[in-house]
Amino acid sequence: MNALTGTGHLVRLVLRRDRVRLPLWVGGLTGLTVVSAAAVQDLYSTPVEIAAYRATVQDSASGRLLNGVPYAVDTVAGITAYEVTSIAGLVVALMVTFTVVRHTRGEEETGTAELLRSTVTGRHAGTAAALLVAIGAAFLAGALDAAVLWAIGLPGAGSLLHGAALAGVGLVFTASAAAAAQLTSSARGALGVAGAVLALLFVVRGVGAVRDDWLVWLSPFGWQDATRPYGDRLWWPLLLVVALTAVVAGGAAWLTAHRDFGSGLVPPRAGRARATAALGTPVGLAWRVQRGLFLGWAVGLTLFAALFGSLGREVVTLIESNPEMADVMGLSLDDVVRSYFAYVIPFLGVLASAYAVASALRLRSEELGGRAEAVLATGTSRLAWALGGVAVTVLGTLAMVVLMGVALSTSHLLLSGEDALFGRLVGATVQQAAPVLLVASTAFLAHGWFPHRALLAWAVFAFALLEAYLGELLSMPAWLADLSPFRHPAGVPVEPFTPWPLLVIGALAAAAVAVGLAGLRRRDLSSA
């Protein structure tokens, strides 16, 4: 018996439990890669089109922020890589993070790991099984990525390297999630830590790409780009991947061996013996349950917004370094800055809708976790209980967009010294509350009728994200793209503000919530 005894059994258990999830992740990612790569082949088939693409992306701050440094974009293969690499890396990183936390800290928190540990299993077997499955899924995603790129007609050696670099991103974040799972005593906390690390590393790569400096080397996403699969084909950045993975996974193993089962690094502290006056109403309870969620997202999204705002100045710098391009495109500097903001602000809105969906789905987890039953056995009606959750989601969203708008406008003001746009940038960000709440309202709607299927609301978010990130590349038909509510508010500061889209979107959201609440009042309460 050693520390890894029983890993084989646990691997089979993990695979059994994830037999739907993992194929969905890997299959979804592969499908997305096929569709976007095929679109690139269509869009950039002539030298003129390729040259035009190159001229645009070289100096696009928003492009660099999201996709990194463009390499070899004078070939269709290079363009393909530039368009598919970042989002594939993000999806793989999220896939391994969710998988690892679910099967390590998640199991420990619910107590199922205790049963398993009482059988003939070693101390590290549980973590090892989760890591093996996550790494296996990342390699499978990498292999399929290489295969489809090659099948679509890109060079074989480059495609192989592209797939390997993608698997490499999975490797690093598998280890990082395993380490995060040792730090906190709750799965939600572990996801928060791992997610924050992921977002930070993505942003570091983006900022490094915009400034074209060494910052990109601090991020695994930067290493993924640095392999330049359809340019210089460098394999050595993958050595960094392996080294960092080994160090972080070793750290996670050390932490596992040096902590008590079920505990995190932070010892539990005593809390209040009495509840504050605010706790005792449905709204007070919902706020208390979601406080950590709101604060975590508020910090992250405020930083993101400040970062996006600060890049307004970089847009100017990029254009100044290449005045001919601005001439060719017939744009003034002011136009470029405005269209940059009109592009990134709805993107911030999409990110905020992830918070809103997570917040709305807390009603579901309260119900399925059995905690709603305790509340509903008191004098609190179902409607009051659910409205408490709705109120916190709505107020949280409003606070979130105000924070983001102020952060974005302030950082733009401080760095560019340009105050003409301040008010309009705040307004443009705040009006995102309407589409954000429409996305969240689908969670309330689904929860009201089908609590077990309410996670489908994440699909609405995923669609909005896909449309914002890849909508143009995929040449989505207009009717499909227009399903994303983020396309409808006025494109301030390029277009003038108009309230009508917000009123329509807001009315739709209110109607969806009302229908959801009607369903909730009619159905049986679920448990587990």
Binding site: G271, R272, A273, G280, R288, A374, T378, G379, S381, L525
Partner: protein, 296 residues
């Protein structure tokens, strides 16, 4: 007026008929034991009474109202303790007690303090750090600290140690003295025997039996051991006698409780030298009911 009236209630989950024409009546001021094997429909009944589940057919009245459509109003007048308490991991026990009591419409401060002491519960611990028994105590204190008319307890003492179990029995005794109604689902027969005025046994979603413990005993058989001077062969002919065994002048048999007089009269005629009779223990009673071993 009765506190709870359930008539011919049917509740299905897909193909499963969890309650299949179930009846239950609990009088006001009564402590009513609710017994049945695992999965027989006890928790479903509790959840119907709480308005968490909607019945397919039948009629339910609780405290004079409809538990589904008037849930929130009725809940101000009742308190509930489930058998498997789940709490908010980041809230302390003290916060949960305050939260639930306030949402019910207020708590008795003196009772809260007294109950925390009686149940030896530390209210400053986070719920995720409590053991099962301690989570159970949080729910018990939250329920008992409210002065309400009706208490619904669904296996409330699972996970409690014997001292705490005794505290719970004392607390229910106090509730009874105050005139409250209690519906107590339990597998701990000593608890039921000590506390309950009447009991109901549910089996496969049907009320198998309701009555006082004395009534139930009366419905079942008494075990008799006797020694007689002459062989007791003739007993087989006495109505209501079952499982007769004879050995060396000693006879053992079971007799329907309402026929015991006939059997003893017959034994007396045979030169009775020694007689022991004991009513069925509660365990025997339940085993007969749960296992369908009672012959017609």
């Amino acid at each position: 007026m009765n506190a709870i009236e359930i008539e011919q209630v049917v509740k299905t989950f897909g193909a499963v008929r969890a309650l299949d024409g179930f009846d239950l009546t609990v009088g006001t001021g009564e402590v009513h034991g609710f017994l049945g094997p695992n999965g027989s429909g006890k928790s479903t009944t509790m959840r119907v009474l709480l308005g968490l589940l909607r019945i397919d057919s039948g009629r339910v009245r609780m405290l004079g109202g409809d538990p589904w459509s008037q849930a929130a109003e009725l809940h101000r007048r009742l308190a509930y303790v489930p058998g498997d308490v789940t709490l908010w991991p980041s809230l302390t026990g003290g916060e949960v007690i305050d939260l639930l009591s306030r949402m019910r419409g207020g708590l008795d401060e003196r009772r809260r303090a007294e109950l925390l002491e009686r149940f030896e519960l530390d209210p400053t611990k986070k719920a995720r750090a409590y053991s099962k028994g301690n989570r159970q105590k949080v729910a018990l204190v939250a329920a008992l600290a409210s002065r309400v008319e009706l208490y619904l307890f669904d296996e409330p003492t699972s996970g409690l140690d014997p001292l705490m179990e005794a505290e719970f029995q004392r607390a229910v005794g106090d509730l009874r003295a105050d005139g409250a109604t209690v519906l107590l689902s339990s597998h701990i027969l000593a608890e039921v025997e000590a506390l309950c005025d009447r009991v109901s046994i549910i089996r496969a979603g049907v009320n198998a039996l309701s009555g006082t413990l004395a009534d139930l005993r009366h419905l079942t058989r008494t075990t008799v051991l006797a020694e007689t001077a002459r062989p007791a062969d003739g007993l087989t002919g006495v109505h209501g006698v079952h499982h007769l065994q004879q050995h060396d002048g000693r006879v053992t048999f079971e007799v329907d409780s309402d026929r015991i007089g006939d059997a003893v009269a017959h034994l007396a005629g045979l030169g009775l030298t020694s007689l022991q009779a004991h009513p069925p223990t509660l365990e025997e009673l339940f085993l007969q009911q749960y296992g369908e071993r009672l012959e017609p």
